[in-house]
Structure formats: structure tokens, C-alpha cells
Symmetry: C2
């Protein structure tokens, strides 16, 4: 039994006493205790691959702030790493793959990885669930099939992922083949997280927003729909799901028909406009600009309140940022944010008849 199930209720568009809040990258470099644990682990990947330490950092933000959900500490690129592509993180840089999937041969050679190679992730889910002891729900996650393809085609992060777009236009057959393998792998991967105890799962489509509408539909949205269709129920029924395409504000109407229970919003879409686009089909999660947290407490409180008010008092809003917390964020500002969301949303519910 989960004591604070506000997050799960909001995902189901049920009334809640307050707006639940969690923050993308809530366990991360802005927290001194995280940096200490990471130093102990030696590297980011060692941290992610050691269930005890992953559990420790997952729970750190919950010790500081009354957050309404925990999210598995891991990386979106664990699946292609398990495919044998050799993921590493150089200090101060983004992810890098030793082997790219940028040719016909390298794409045709890919297969769904043995899930035993990802056992460290499922073990972390099990241990975090145990450590949480029903306090709040635990969110599992994966990168989207298309977003995984972005990194493996370029061999790492990239400004605009030009080789990805080129491949999508000139060799749609190869791109589809890569997406198909990723889709199957992501489905199995999320199902293992569900088996290990995840209470909800989220698909991070960080780069779908780079595509033209037609290619987004074909290569990103369709594959995420297939993942969602392939998910097992959890212990208490249908698994609640969240789909987040950064830069996907123009496609919300189509995303709402994907089967996801909630859509994540980046900070560029007005919540009221998003609600108009999706109606009551899904919950909405978002969408404060994470850089707001680099200002002062008064500005943070004002901006957080504006997001809560824009969402209105109808059920189905989960407060989050529009993208991950940046490392320079003062933890005090996160405290102000969480307090403001809880307080204002409680006041709004008391004020409405």
C-alpha cells in the first residue's frame, strides 16, 4: 500500500488534496549529498550500476523535500549500452558510444539485449521500493526508441542530430529497422521494471521534437504507442504511463491518443492551451522552466504559483519542470518550489466550491 498516492491519483485524473510534484533529475548534481555519493562510486555509470548507491541517491531528494514521487536513478541510455554499443561519460561531457549505428551493417547487426545485462536496473527498482516502504510511488523510465536511436546514430549528444535527420529522410527503411529493435527492447526493459515493482513508467522522448511532423509520427510516436501497448499491468491494475516529447507542443492532440495516461510538457507550451488540445483524455505533467530555479526564492514562488493556477483546479495535473534540474540550482529554491505548489494548490481546492 502506498501512503501518499497523490501522484497516482492525479495520473488517473482523480481528485487530490493538493497538486503532486516531482522534478526531473530531482536526484542530481545540485545536491551536495549526491555529489558525495557519486564521488564514492567513481563515475556516473558506476553509480547507476550499483543498486545500493542508486537507491541511496534516489531517496536523497525525498529526505530534503516532501516530493510526491520518487524516480529510479538511472540513465536513458542503459538499453543501447546493453546492446553492446559501449556507453561512457567523460568528465564534464555528455554520453559517448564506442560503436555507432550509422550504417546499414551496424543497424542490421543490432538485437534486443539480454535483460540480464540490465539486471542492475531491476535490482535498483527492487531495492528502492523496499527502501521507500510505501512512502510515495516509484517511477520507472526509459528513453524513447527514437531518442535512443538519436544517440547511437551520432555516437553521443549532438547539436541538432544532423545524421539522424539525414538517415530518416534518405533511408527510412533503415531508420525503421533501428526503431523496431529499440521498440522491442524498450518494451521488455520497462516490463522488467514493472515486474520489479515500478508504480508508473515514463518514456523520455528528448529529441522527437527535432523531427518534421510526418517523421515524428512514423519514427517516434508510433513506436512509443507500440511500447505502451506492450506493457504489462502492475500489481494493482493497468500500469500508469507518462509520455514526454520535448518540443512536442504542436503534436499534443496526437500524443493524447497514444494510450498514455499523462503527457509531459516542456516549458514553452501554456498549460491552458495544452489542456484545450487534449481535453480530458490525459493528465498533464509540467511545466516550469528549470532555469527559473536559478533566480531568487520570490521569483520561484511567483512562477510556481502561476503554473499551478494555469493548470486550474480540475484533476489531472502533476507539477514538474519542463526539463531536468540544472546542476547550478540552489537546493533552497527547490524547497520553495515544492512548498509553493503544495500550499497554493491546497488553497485553490479549498476556495473552489
Amino acid at each position: 500500500m502506498i501512503q501518499n498516492d497523490t501522484f497516482l491519483r492525479a495520473l488517473r485524473r482523480e481528485p487530490t488534496s493538493h497538486t503532486p510534484v516531482w522534478l526531473m533529475r530531482q536526484a542530481g548534481r545540485y545536491l551536495p549529498e549526491y555529489n558525495r555519493t557519486r564521488a564514492q562510486a567513481g563515475s556516473f555509470m558506476q553509480l547507476a550500476m550499483t543498486p545500493e548507491l542508486a537507491t541511496e541517491v534516489t531517496l536523497q531528494p525525498l529526505e530534503r523535500f516532501p516530493l510526491d514521487a520518487a524516480i529510479l536513478f538511472s540513465d536513458i541510455l542503459t538499453v543501447p549500452d546493453a546492446m553492446g554499443l559501449g556507453l561512457s561519460f567523460a568528465v564534464g561531457e555528455g554520453p559517448r558510444f564506442a560503436h555507432k549505428t550509422d550504417s546499414e551493417a551496424s543497424i542490421r547487426a543490432l538485437t534486443v539485449p539480454d535483460m540480464n545485462k540490465l539486471r542492475y536496473v531491476f535490482d535498483a527498482v527492487t531495492q528502492i521500493k523496499k527502501a521507500l516502504n510505501g512512502r510515495v510511488p516509484l517511477i520507472g523510465f526509459s528513453g524513447s526508441p527514437f531518442t535512443l536511436a538519436c544517440y547511437t546514430i551520432e555516437g553521443g549528444s549532438s547539436d541538432g542530430f544532423p545524421n539522424v535527420r539525414r538517415l530518416a529522410y534518405s533511408r527510412p527503411d533503415l531508420m525503421q529497422r533501428l526503431i523496431d529493435v529499440n521498440t522491442e527492447a524498450v518494451t521488455v526493459y520497462l516490463n522488467e521494471q514493472i515486474d520489479a515493482g515500478a508504480d508508473a513508467v515514463m518514456i523520455f522522448d528528448t529529441w522527437g521534437g527535432l523531427l518534421p511532423a510526418a517523421e515524428y509520427r512514423t519514427f517516434s510516436l508510433a513506436s512509443m504507442r507500440r511500447v505502451l501497448e506492450g506493457l504489462k499491468p502492475g500489481a494493482t491494475g493497468k500500469m500508469p504511463t507518462i509520455l514526454f516529447t520535448k518540443g512536442g507542443g504542436v503534436w499534443l492532440d496526437e500524443m493524447a491518443a497514444s494510450g498514455a495516461d499523462a503527457l509531459g510538457l516542456d516549458w514553452t507550451v501554456a498549460l491552458a492551451q495544452a489542456r484545450k488540445a487534449v481535453g480530458q483524455r490525459v493528465a498533464l505533467q509540467g511545466n516550469l522552466d528549470p532555469l527559473t530555479l536559478l533566480t531568487d526564492p520570490a521569483t520561484v514562488a511567483r512562477a510556481a504559483e502561476a503554473v499551478v493556477r494555469a493548470a486550474g483546479s480540475a484533476p489531472g495535473h502533476i507539477f514538474n519542470l519542463g526539463h531536468g534540474i540544472v546542476p547550478q540550482t540552489p537546493p533552497e529554491n527547490v524547497g520553495v518550489l515544492v512548498e509553493t505548489v503544495h500550499r497554493v494548490s491546497r488553497e485553490m481546492r479549498q476556495a473552489s466550491p
Copy 2:
């Protein structure tokens, strides 16, 4: 009199024999003849500041391809340079300002520049008009007030312009002051281009799409509306205008009420959806992904045809890319693109009753 006025007719949503096409950065590094002229000039800014050479490179793509408009060869950052902020371009890098506008003092010190410092731009307009000799219309342009602020706050280009977003949230009064000076400067600047003979003007809002909806409205869209309201008529009546916010697909409805005759679209919005959002209030310009031009001629032709067909045969479409041509583009592919747009759009008009 302009011989090929297809572009101006499409801006007014009048019927045309074919879909007019021009391409952002059509005069640029993908053309060997451009690189020769630039080498002769010594630097990008010397090229932009020498009207004879700016005229030469403006006309170069028209000698190769039957484009339906010319666009002034210049930079979007000439106005803050004339404000004394010291623009330079290091080899292989983006723009850099010697002085930033990232403090109260530096913002309060800014004034609308003496337009004599920008005489080289207006002289280029005059000379290009003369060299064109009525062949096709000439488009003048400026960066948007917000986009100019982005570069001067950061002191150059930036990944996500974090200091800009921070200033907008924490010191909206200062941001507004900077936007106000830029708005007045851009208005005077475009009016001088109109006096010199520009047949249409375009505002490039390259970075407005980074903002939350409310801040976009306040700091970018409102200032562009003020610029548009302050424009003089041209020699033949109301000056035709184009407004382009990259990443602005979610705000097209509001942008259509700005007073602009046309909206530029990046490659992420489907043309049919954009048309639905704006109705018949404005013409639409766009929106092929420029990276399509890095593929093969058959892919270019197929993709260009898809854009023409998505726009349909109703008047009011100007074919363009969703952003500027990249330097690696093979010129032959640009030829295929222009030919395809002209041919397919002519066929569509003949096929419809």
C-alpha cells in the same frame, strides 16, 4: 515594375501560376562563388559592410537558380553592433560581442543607434535593387527585438541562452527596457531599408521559441507587433511583412494576429495543421528541413513535392526551408529543389478546376 512578382502576390494571398520559392541563406557558404567573394572581402563583416560585394553575393544564387525573390545579404546583428556593442565573427565560430547587455547599467546605457552607422546596409539595398533591375522582389530584414537581446545578453550565441531566460524571469523590468530600445531601433532600421527600396521585410525571431508562452507574448511577440505597426508603406502601398519565430509552432494563432502578412514556419509544424491554426488570415512560408538538402536528388525532389502538396493549391504559400541552408549543401540539390517546387505547383494548378 517587378517582372516576376509571384512572391509578392503569394504574400497577399493572390493566385499565382506557381508556388514562389526562396531559401533562407540562399547566398552563402554552400556556393563556391560566395566563398571566393568572401575571401576577397577578408571577413564576413567586411563582406556585409561593402555594398558592392554584398550586392554581388545577393545576386549569386539568382544566377544559378530561378528563385522568386532575393534577400539582402547582411547579418541579423548589425543593429546591436551599431549600438556600439562590438560585433565580430571569429573564424569557424558564431557571433561575439565585445560588450554584453547583462547588467542594469549596461542596459540603461543603450540608445537607438545613429542610422548613419548602418548606411552600408541601406546602400546595399539601393545597389541590389539597381542590379536586380526589377527581375524579382528584394526582401529586407532584421533580427527581432528579443533575438537581438538574446545575443547581447549572452555576448554571443549560446546553448539555450540561460542568462536571457533568467533575466526575463527575475528582472522583467530590465528585459522590457532592453526590448523597448531594440524595438525602436529595429523599426527605424527597417524603415530605412524600405526607403532604400526593399519590396518586403522579414523579422527573424530565431530564439523566441526558447521562452514560455507568457514571456514569448510579452517580450517577443508584442515587440514584433510594435515594429510592424511602425513600418512605413513602400512605393506601391502597404509594406508586405513576414514574421518568423523558430519553434513558434504552438503560437501560430496569436502570431497570425500580429499584423504580419505571412508567418515563417520551421520544419516541425505540418503545413496543413499550421493552415488550420491561422485560417486565411496570413500567408505561410516554409517549411522543408534544410538537412533534407544533404541527401540525394531523388530524396530532395520527393520531400519538396510533399511540402508543396501539403500546402495545397489555395493561394498564400511561399516555399522555403524551415531554417537556413547549411554550408555542406551540394548546390545541385538546391537546383532540384527549385525545379521541383515550380513544376509540381504548376501541375497542381493545372489539375485543379
